[in-house]
């Protein structure tokens, strides 16, 4: 029996690149590295225009506060340091590096000599921080800070291999092509957290991954492979913890408050590479898919590479895209430029034509079908939240629990009346927060 939560939706999977092995992107001509690819303070560039940089060299560091450094994914010359607007509408400093084609690695990058079991928890955390690792599932929270805040407090470590969004299969490919990196990364995380046990949560549409991990880990007392039902948003941390341990994270609290900590598959593998080989996070697997792409692929690409290079590598476009999305179609961000660079949190790049995506219709009307109520994983009544928000009745929004909404978009996905529910909810949340700030 697969574990699951209450509510949720079953969008068409569309995982067209599921059987495509991970391929390496040909070196891009230049890369654009934003100085903030994580949640927290921005990095300060440590290089100047004209400098030569090695691959893996740190080019932006955190002076104080929460954050992780940025490393170059190619060797070459710093061409420009500018400000550019990222899709989340924030102007961020960006370092542009021109490739010299040599791929010379930074000579100071060295692995850990000696058995990994000799590493102390503090050493692991330090290496994770210096490698610039932040959550690679899209939330981009600095991993070292997550370990620090969870260590000693939590009892359960969950490796999140759900990948519940349509199209994306980067984690799945990683799991079946390099399972040892994931398993070893999980062992290192356990060590850093002082835990003896770990759950690997895999959705049941990834049969091959479940088979492989069950086989590899059979007889191993530390690991449990958990089969999860294929449903969106199964990978959401609240729903994942509820499905496995049957506990609900209280509103406004974090997984650590109920004794759990969750790491994404690829982040776990990155932890292993960083700790064992000293390789910082500057490459990631991106699923390029969508009906505009000639051949969907899973591409291991340097962070900062422009999407246009990835698209070329997939054989180009077959029709003009209506929407370009970084991330999944449910939670991802629409892009306005095909040259947008891949960043640490980009798990997929989707190029969708008008028929594969949806326009927001101006003619929308709630018919009160109640479908949104049935699918809401947070057990809210989205239809009422939307109509209260539409009439600026924010008090009622709060009474109906608007602040619990995790903006998963399930309600908006199912709505036959095409009501922009989650958008209305978002604007209500913003207004409520503003009002609270004004009051205090």
């Amino acid at each position: 029996m697969s574990l699951t939560f209450i509510g949720g939706i079953h969008p068409r999977e569309n995982k067209n690149a599921k059987d495509k092995p991970i391929e390496l992107l040909p070196p891009p001509e230049s890369i654009r590295l934003s100085m903030s690819q994580h949640i927290g303070v921005h990095c300060t560039p440590t290089v100047a225009v004209g400098d030569h940089v090695y691959k893996y060299q740190c080019i932006g560091k955190i002076t104080s506060g929460l954050g992780v450094p940025v490393h170059s994914s190619i060797s070459g010359t710093v061409k420009e340091i500018t400000k550019s607007v990222t899709p989340d509408n924030v102007e961020k400093q960006t370092v542009i590096i021109e490739n010299d084609g040599q791929n010379t690695p930074d000579p100071s990058v060295r692995g850990f000599d000696g058995p990994l079991s000799e590493l102390s928890a503090a050493q692991i955390i330090e290496r994770v921080r210096d490698a610039g690792i932040s959550g690679m599932g899209g939330a981009t929270f600095p991993s070292y800070a997550k370990i620090n805040s969870a260590a000693g407090k939590v009892k359960h470590l969950i490796i999140n291999c759900c990948e519940c969004e349509p199209y994306i299969c980067a984690n799945y490919r990683l799991m079946i092509e390099d399972p040892d990196a994931v398993i070893n990364g999980a062992k290192l995380l356990m060590k850093a957290l002082g835990l003896r046990r770990c759950d690997i949560a895999i959705e049941d549409n990834k049969k091959e991954a479940i088979r492989l991990f069950t086989k590899k880990l059979s007889g191993n007392q530390m690991f449990t492979v958990r089969k999860m039902k294929t449903k969106y948003p199964q990978g959401d941390e609240r729903q994942l913890i509820f499905a496995i341990y049957n506990v609900m994270i209280p509103q406004g609290k974090l997984p650590a408050d109920v004794g759990c900590v969750i790491f994404n598959t690829e982040t776990t593998a990155a932890v292993f590479r960083a700790v064992a080989y000293g390789i910082p996070l500057c490459e990631r697997i991106v699923t390029v898919d969508g009906d505009c792409v000639k051949e969907p692929k899973n591409i291991l690409c340097p962070i900062g590479a422009p999407l246009s290079d990835l698209v070329d590598f997939c054989g180009g476009l077959v029709k003009p895209p209506k929407k370009i999305i970084f991330g999944g179609p449910m939670m991802g961000q629409a892009q306005w430029d095909i040259r947008s660079p891949v960043s640490k949190g980009t798990s997929a790049a989707l190029l969708l034509s008008a028929s594969a995506t949806t326009e927001y219709e101006h003619r929308s009307a709630c018919i009160r079908c109640g479908k949104c109520v049935g699918v809401c994983p947070m057990h809210l009544m989205p239809t009422y939240l939307a109509s209260f928000s539409r009439t600026y009745n924010f008090d009622m929004c709060e009474k109906f629990g608007v602040m619990s909404c995790v903006e998963c978009g399930s309600c908006t996905y199912v709505c036959p009346g095409r009501v922009p529910i989650v958008q209305l909810i978002r604007s209500a949340k913003v207004r409520i927060k503003e009002n609270r700030a004004k009051k205090s």
Partner: protein, 348 residues
């Protein structure tokens, strides 16, 4: 060499790409597709109605649907509402209204009823999703102002004129009349189930309505909660408290008589006028069932389904409000500390 049509300037890209917030995909189900399902589900019962009551039944359906659709189009223009003909909801209303009328009504009645349902009950409240009463049922109750025509039931297979309202056939009693008098109807129960009794055009065949209802449930257009609670309550009440000295046959006949199946599967489940929480739907179904039996036993009209649903329509907002699910991980807001002595007192 670029293999994709990459415009040279960002400005051109602006024109090509849509940048809008997530989610970027929607399910294929839309309001019209759901309405189409309802229409398909109603078809078997409608066809049976025509087979039993003749072509005049078809005529009534056509008049009713055309009147609803025209009323919707005109009122949308006048009231400057969103033009919603293509969501098919007016067709559903028209069809439901026709199925709720006896075949012998003069043809102006479905026409007037359709206009009333759409203009007064639906559009004046803001259009689809805003009305709080079921339009088709409201129109039916409104047409009861002509009670004679509305309770004039002819036996099935009586030849009736197609257009003229000059009906000289004899009115017969429906099974409900004898049930409410505490006696079993003269028709065998199996015939009641198949739909061979006199009654409104679309209400007679429990079998075909059940088939349509199951189709809707399987297609997840409606949930089983309202119909099950509704029919279950009627069965339970008529089983435990039959009129006269009757056994289980009385309960079975009660369930298959009148508009119960049509009401439970197609009218009470109307999205707009039913609760959207799971518990709320059960309460609503039980309420409809209880009121139906009460009206059948003690009311002035033999049939209580329409009134029961309309009465429950009025409570939908309250039912929704009080059966609101507890949000995931909800924390009770801390109440200010009470003085030790006050037991169960209200928090200030």
């Amino acid at each position: 060499m670029k293999k994709h049509p990459l415009p040279d300037s960002t400005a051109e890209f602006d024109k090509m790409l849509t940048v809008s917030p997530n989610p970027h995909i929607r399910s294929r189900e839309t309001t019209p597709s759901l309405m189409l399902c309802v229409i398909i589900a109603l078809l078997p019962a409608a066809v049976w109605g025509v087979y039993q009551f003749g072509l005049r039944a078809l005529m009534i359906m056509i008049v009713s649907i055309v009147s609803c659709v025209c009323a919707e189009a005109l009122s949308a223009l006048v009231l400057k509402l969103k033009f919603s003909i293509n969501d098919l909801s007016a067709v559903v209303t028209g069809l439901l209204l026709a199925l709720n009328l006896p075949v012998s009504v003069p043809l102006w009645m479905p026409a007037v009823g359709g206009v009333f349902a759409i203009v007064i009950v639906k559009q004046l409240f803001g259009g689809i999703g805003k009305n709080f009463l079921n339009p088709a049922l409201c129109a039916r109750v409104f047409l009861f102002s002509w009670a004679g025509e509305m309770t004039y039931f002819t036996t099935p297979k009586t030849a009736l004129p197609l257009f003229s309202s000059d009906i000289d056939a004899v009115s017969t009693a429906t099974p409900l009349a004898s049930l409410n008098a505490g006696a079993l109807p003269g028709i065998p129960i199996i015939d009641l189930f198949i739909g061979k009794q006199p009654g409104c055009i679309g209400e007679v065949s429990a079998l075909l309505l059940l088939a349509g209802g199951l189709f809707l449930i399987i297609r997840k257009v409606i949930s089983v909660r309202i119909p099950l609670a509704f029919i279950g309550t009627v069965f339970a009440l008529t089983y435990f408290f039959p009129l006269g000295d009757q056994d289980v046959h009385y309960a079975v006949a009660s369930v298959f008589s009148g508009a119960l199946f049509l009401g439970a599967f197609f009218m009470a489940t109307d999205y707009t006028t039913s609760p959207c929480t799971p518990i709320g739907q059960i309460i609503y179904g039980v309420g409809c069932g209880a009121l139906t039996v009460l009206i059948r036993y003690f009311g002035g009209y033999p049939e209580g389904v329409s009134f029961a649903i309309l009465i429950m329509n009025l409570f939908v907002w309250f039912i929704d409000k009080y059966t609101k699910p507890t949000p995931f991980g909800h924390v009770k807001p801390e109440k200010p500390k009470k003085p030790k002595k006050a037991k169960g007192g209200e928090a200030e």
